[in-house]
Amino acid sequence: MARLIRTEKEVEGRFEEVWLVVDEDPLDQWPEGPRTIVGRPAQRLDGRERVSGLARYTADLKLPGMLHAAILRSPHASASARRVDTSRAREAPGVRAILEPGDIQQLSADANYHGAPVLAIAAETYGQARAAVDLVEIDWDVREPLVDPEEAVRRESFLEEPRRYTRGDVERALAEADVVVESEYRTQTVVHNPLEPHQAICEWLGDELHVYISTQYIWGVRDTIADTLGLPPDKVRVVCEFMGGGFGAKNGPGTYTFVAAELAKRAGRPVRCALTRREENLDAGNRNATIQRLKAAARSDGTIVALQGEFIASVGWGGWLAPTAGPMQMLYACENVETVEYGTKLNTPPMAAFRAPGFAEGTFGLECLLDELARKLDLDPLELRRRNYAHNDAKDDRPFSSKNLMECYRRAEPHWARRDEVRARSDGTWKRGVGLASQIWYGGGGPPSYAWVRVGADGRVQVVTAMQDIGTGTRTAMAQIAAEQLGVPLDRVQVSLGDSARGPYASISAGSSTTPSMGPAVRAAAADAGRQILEIAAQRYHKEERTLSLANGQVQCSDGGAWRIEDVVGLLEDAQILGKGARGPNPTGMQTLTFGVHVAEVAVDVETGEVRVERIAAIHDVGRIINPLGASSQVEGGVIQGIGHTLSEDRVVDPATGTILSQSLDAYKLPTMADTPPEIVSEFVDVPDAHLTNLGSKGLGEPPIVPVAGAIANAIRDATGADVHQLPISREELLRALDAARDRARREPVSA
């Protein structure tokens, strides 16, 4: 029965109260541990399609009569176009439609960052569209850009009000503490750079708009387009069957979608608008840079009595203030905490959510600070973290729905115990060391999310839901859940997704929410279908329904009878059984979070500043694991992406002009296979969260990137004594830190 409830919804650490219709199926969680299919490694259902190039991405689609759009972007960080002359462009070969500044709200003659969209042209080929863009004449009035976040704080140039948080009395605790450490950390701007560039194809069929788009949120794209263009939502159909990476940058429709929609309307033909790699590095979102001024105070026994932080985020011209102070507020049991976060508005490209936004940056600062504190206290860093274990959510004063971070620490011990042996392998200028960092982040998912499960006369199962698989293996995890519930082999299940017109509402694939949001809905739908199969079998074979169950592809009776599912459902001939399922609410009055710890081993060449990450052990508590194989891939991917922002990735802005200097994948250094640690160990506590849904599963997309930078920086400190304060840890930064460590050793010699 449909039930209307009021509940709290969280995405990427942002909460809102929503009304929600749930049609929840009260199912007991499966017992802990691997089941027949859930909890056992499964190859991707769509692995062969993706690997062999059969999978069709938005980039591969070609509609009849399709035109191609190119966008003219501002070459200046702050400027306005005094004169725009498109007359030569209009005459250029192949041009079919032009959008001038102001024709749609996303195109403007007033440019406030390098790469801001100004106008757009559709032509028969992309080359013709780009050539026509080059014929547009613009006279710019160039203004002085604001790119320095400290100056922005002084001028109070903010995107939103500074966010202040206080509990307890920090000043008093600082005054009474035995030990105080204070440090400043900086993180750089990082660009998502998914390999499939942002793009959309728009086609009008009468008053209906079809949008083929590389997206993480089919329904969000639908709603935003409908809202912006004043269309009824059901007049917008959004399709994304395969997508080539997003990492947070594809949570909504970008300018390119609105450009394609309007050009398609004007030209009367479908239009593709795809970003180039260089546009991808200009105007597709980024993880914004931060400055973090942090203080921690402790008693001599290691109890942390105060944490204080000032966080300045270089958000850019748009975006939102990610919760960089979150780890400081939530990771440790500290009674006195005070944070202030400034989201500065600058003449730089807008930020977008990027894999654990705020927490990845904030954890780097906090976990480096903790190790500085451990050194001052002469306390083992792992022990310091245990002594300050948070047993409830002090920020919101509520219990955790589950927390097994202590078990993560316990499992970290054998990896942590390698440090004497690792240090002993230091050789010449290559010094080796071990460091760790904890992980905290959201990832409980939430309602609404819906799924259907069809069982046909051939006994095959089809999961139908209009979600997207962004590469995390969602199709496979959902198939495992349905197969487990229906007692059929995995190869009998297929998953149809990716089309708002052909499936029920499904959640965003962001905020580590896909599995915890969708999985319970799929299980409920499978249970509904299974119940119907048993009802049919009970009547056909004259059994009491309570004596029947599903297993091994059969309806089995407690009296020993068994019938193949296809024989039971076959009675329907060409019709199918349809099960429906919905995601229920999250537990009320509880905080649902994910936890973990990473132990990194590094080698540092103290002469050149080169860092090699030799091993990372990643231990996470994310509730029940559905697919251990896919889960290990998620962890490795998070670790490797984390190594990118720790050691090499850096979006470079010219401080004088505000222009972006790193626009290609030659200048912007993504990690390669050669940068990958020879060994990444993934471990999971794998205990279902007893309070969370019918699965007890949390999300895993983001947790593994969170502690990487802190663990590596702390390993560098262990290896060399150098305190790193800045990401990326370039050779320049490392040589500076080594110099500072040598100076400190001269000033205050310590016994080894």
Partner: protein, 145 residues
């Protein structure tokens, strides 16, 4: 008129001077398994084999491969490397993966038992933003299993 041999089939087509092989494959011939992710030779997603040598098709002019054997991912569908990638879960979003497979095939065809260093060297030109490198290495280490 250009004559091309792709995956063992001969094609005759009109391609303007300056047209990239990747555009001919994807737009003119519908062989969309080859991906374009940077269009300037930095990422490896567009890798194809030209006479068995891994080649960046986005910065290769189509006229320069006339009379030579071009092999795309579509020509490698029966290669055991495909299974090796699927088994090892050496794929996430999959956009770089066809290019990875092509580079991997080029390596093992020349050297069926590559060392770890040889794998890392040969595969470093193929970027993967999802970070599947660990699993790709596994796939190459066990491709004939």
């Amino acid at each position: 008129m250009s004559e091309l041999t792709i995956n063992g089939h001969r094609y005759e087509l009109e391609a303007p001077v300056g047209r990239a092989l990747a555009d001919v494959l994807r737009d003119d011939l519908g062989l969309t398994g080859t991906k374009i992710a940077c269009y300037e030779g930095h990422c490896g997603a567009c890798t194809v084999l030209v006479d068995g040598v891994p080649t960046l098709s986005c910065i290769t002019l189509v006229h320069s491969v006339e009379g030579r054997e071009v092999t795309t991912i579509e020509g490698l569908r029966d290669h055991p490397m495909i299974d090796a990638f699927v088994r090892a879960d050496a794929v996430q979003c999959g956009f770089c993966t066809p290019g990875q497979v092509v580079s991997a095939v080029a390596l093992v065809e020349a050297n069926p038992t590559p060392s770890r260093d040889e794998i890392r060297h040969a595969m470093s030109g193929n970027l993967c933003r999802c970070g599947t490198y660990t699993k790709i290495e596994e796939a190459l280490a066990s491709w004939r299993a």
